[in-house]
């Protein structure tokens, strides 16, 4: 632990003996009502993170069912109907229930602390945004026990499979997605209002930590595309229950229209899940390289470019749907362009490492693994952009490999990096070093065993979303399943590390990491319930 021995805390606060979450809560309701009614950004952040972790495990159990069935060729454990429900629910839960709320939870905790604000700008709205989520996802999960089963049409729910041919529970799925969407929009409004209005005096936009910047841009993306999702699921609702024919060809509708609308939401959505990850990594790497982020301004511009381009690439998900040639070309070129700002980011991270003074604490391990493995996902993304080649890649395990590389060792590793980075601030204790390292290495090995062979299975011809497969794919699938079980089991270790860290461990000072510079490290660890009630004295770094 010698490597992160910090300087003396520059305490603006008296260290409290009672610990962060409990401190100052005497006037507030206790027990369950405290959590139901809380308007405190730290408590709501904690709720979001616990919710997200719960969903991560539920979605993970679904993934384990999928991988157990695919361990060998043949149908052994589940029937195809249920298998399709598992792939659908796994995707929906992980995207809307695990990854997105985790980033919102981190934003709730850290955005006010990083900009020197006393709380989120709209605390009651914040409470409402969170409590919509358990309702939404309980409803979604309840479809598993409804007659006809849960949604079974994939997380992309293409019509007419999700309308005319869908199980009766689809209406509940639509309502739950509406609730989750409202929650996201309200959360995004809150984050924008907080960042634009509550920065410490003297903090210009270009002084904000990259995590705050990426979240600001993400929030605008959310506000732009969540209504599109709401629109498309409302059209589904009307098709299913009120006899309209938006997506029903027999009634003059257009099934391909569904895909245009869905991916106009869906592509920005995938950046919603990765931009905050970029922000976390851009904060962690400089800390443990003990060196300022290289190219701060170009990082901001690259993030904004990616966000803008994300509105112009949606039909690369639809290269084989029968688009006209000009559309194929347009979307191929625009998609290839995304490699440029993304490349700039990777180059900037590596140049930040160059001639730094690098140590390898758990947050840094996850951040470094993020850079390597996200880049591998970026490479397969570049390959997928080549439209003629996509006629072979499309809807195969190559695509599954691609998006899991950017989402699991991408988004999820960044979230874990963030959790390890900020746990000392949240709990006042360092996470147990050995256990954290075990968690990291088992996760890295597990994640690569799981997702790397998928590239080969896909290239060799294995389509996505099949419950059984031809014999030539058997070896790849067995390795993938073993990797998945390892990865899944390793996450139990993560829970243990977090619980252990909440309950005790090596005490962390205010500035828990030697190279950490942002404002959150000026408040005590654990952070008291109320921080920055008077704005901090912010000294911008000279650009």
């Amino acid at each position: 632990m010698a490597s992160h021995l910090p300087p003396k805390p520059i305490a603006q606060y008296e260290e409290t003996a009672s610990g962060g979450l409990a401190a100052g809560a005497q006037h507030a309701p206790r027990g369950l009502m405290r959590w139901l009614l809380t308007t405190n950004h730290k408590e709501i952040g904690t709720l979001y993170l616990i919710f997200s972790l719960t969903m991560f495990f539920i979605g993970g159990i679904f993934a384990m069912v999928i991988r157990a069935e695919l361990f060998q060729p043949g149908l052994q454990l589940v029937q195809p109907e249920f298998f399709n429900q598992m792939t659908t629910m796994h995707g929906l839960i992980m995207v809307f229930g695990a990854v997105m709320p985790a980033f919102v939870g981190l934003a709730n905790w850290m955005v006010p602390l990083q900009i020197g604000a006393p709380d989120m700008a709209l605390p009651r709205l914040n409470n409402f945004s969170f409590w919509l989520l358990p309702v939404a996802f309980l409803m979604l999960l309840s479809t598993l026990v409804m007659p006809g089963g849960a949604p079974n049409f994939g997380w992309t729910f293409y019509a007419p499979l999700s309308t005319t041919y869908a199980p009766p529970s689809t209406t509940f799925f639509i309502f739950s997605l509406h609730l989750a969407g409202i929650s996201s929009i309200l959360g995004a409004i809150n984050i924008i209002a907080t960042i634009l209005n509550l920065r410490a005096p003297g903090m210009r936009l270009m002084d904000m930590p990259l995590f705050v910047w990426t979240w600001l841009i993400t929030a605008f993306l959310l506000i732009a595309v969540m209504p599109v999702l709401a629109g498309v699921i409302t059209m589904m609702l009307l098709d299913i229950n009120f006899g309209t024919s938006f997506f029903n060809a027999a009634g003059g509708g257009d099934p391909v229209l569904f895909q245009h609308l869905f991916w106009f939401f869906g592509h920005p959505e995938v950046y919603i899940m990765i931009l905050p990850a970029f922000g976390i990594v851009s904060v962690i790497i400089p800390t443990f390289a003990r060196k300022r982020l290289f190219g701060y301004a170009s990082m901001v511009y690259a993030t904004a470019s990616i966000a803008i381009l994300s509105f112009l690439v949606w039909a690369h998900h639809m290269f084989v749907v029968g688009l006209p040639l000009v559309a194929e070309l347009f979307f191929m070129y625009s998609t290839m362009l995304i490699a440029v700002p993304t490349g700039v980011k990777v180059f900037n991270w590596i140049t930040t490492l160059f001639r730094g003074s690098i140590s390898f604490e758990p947050p840094m391990l996850f951040a470094l693994a993020f850079v390597v493995l996200f880049t591998i996902g970026g490479f397969s993304g570049l390959m997928l952009a080549i439209s003629p080649a996509d006629f072979q890649y499309h809807d195969t395990y190559f695509v599954v490999a691609h998006f899991h590389y950017v989402l699991v060792p991408g988004a999820v590793f960044a979230i874990m990096a963030g959790v390890y980075y900020w746990l000392p601030k949240w709990t006042g204790h360092y996470p147990h070093l050995r256990l954290s390292q075990w968690h990291f290495w088992l996760s890295v090995i597990g994640v690569n065993l799981t997702f790397f062979p998928m590239h080969f299975a896909g290239l060799a011809g294995m389509p996505r979303r099949i419950p059984d497969y031809a014999l030539q794919f058997a070896d790849f699938n067995m390795v993938t399943s073993l990797g998945a079980f390892l990865f899944g089991a390793s996450q139990l270790l993560f829970v243990w590390v977090v619980i252990k860290c909440v309950r005790g461990g090596e005490k962390a000072p205010a500035r828990a990491w030697e190279g950490a510079e942002d404002l959150e490290w000026s408040v005590p660890s654990p952070a008291p319930l109320h921080t920055f009630e008077t704005p901090p004295d912010f000294q911008p770094q000279q650009h």
Partner: protein
Amino acid sequence: MRKRLVLMAAGFAFTGLSQGVLANGWNMPVGVTDVSREIHSLHMIIFWICVVIGIVVFGAMFYSLYRYRHSQGAKATQFHEHTTVEIIWTVIPLLILVGMAVPATATLKTMYDASEADLDVMVTGQQWRWRYDYMGEEVAFTSNLATPRAQIEGSDAKDDSYLLEVDEPLVLPTGRKVRLLLTSDDVIHSWWVPDLAVKQDAVPGFVNENWVRINEPGIYRGQCAELCGRDHGFMPVVVKAVEPEQFDTWLAQRKEAAAQEAMGVDREWSREELMERGEQVYGTICASCHQPDGSGNPPAFPALAGNQALMDDREGHVETVVNGVSGSAMPAFRSTLNPVEIAAVITYERNAWGNETGDVIQPSAIAEQLSD
């Protein structure tokens, strides 16, 4: 000594990797059409570009991680901006991308030129089979999964073409340009054969176009690539490519057989004949939803065995099979089954699994209803 060992290990790893990765079964197939070869070479070019960039980027990263370790007393040098460098690493990737876009555009243009085809085949996706219609030739048939249930459930050993075998493959001539017109009767499917580098969605209400000119005779196997419901994984595509003369002979035989079947409509069929034919049609068309024993899968797929309402309503039964049930998964079979098949399958359903109506539906009656 240690260095040499490391080098040797790295050498083995690299050759092993490149052989392994490039070997058949690990990589995209080169395929048997000019287009599939072009796509394969595009794939390999972009792959090697990524490998080279990866070596440079990760090399620089791991060098920095090793060289500038805090534990080795490295002191950070504070620098955080360099406009020239940032312009260079924006422009170079841009140039690489332009270099990649040029051949990709050319290939795409070739793939989109389905003009001047020698043969048109309509490919219709149905849950969960493909229907092939040789347009203008009066030859059409459905192609169903041929893998026995026992192999899927594990009671029999799986054969080599497990899940990639059909009762009747799509037969195509080599050397001729075949235009594929794709559509669907129900949900979106996607017709894919890796060796032909054709993957095209079959969308209900739309007709998509693709084409193929196969260079070598052989059997090429693929699958439905777009999630289309329960048996999406059990919807293989098999293309049998034969020499043109052989193809012409085959087509003539199929035409003859189709004409024979059409004549059968007018004659009186016995109950036994209809039951036998009906069982076969039921097994390939209906059983995937309504189950081999007619027990169905409610609520989406009602039971037929012991379905009293259905047995009491003979006209309704015929109507359901002929015209489908709108807003449900039950398709209209008026254009995909011929009158003999429709009459046989309804006769079968009304007299199997304990249904004892004794009804015999004649093909001629169905033909009359269809012509109304």
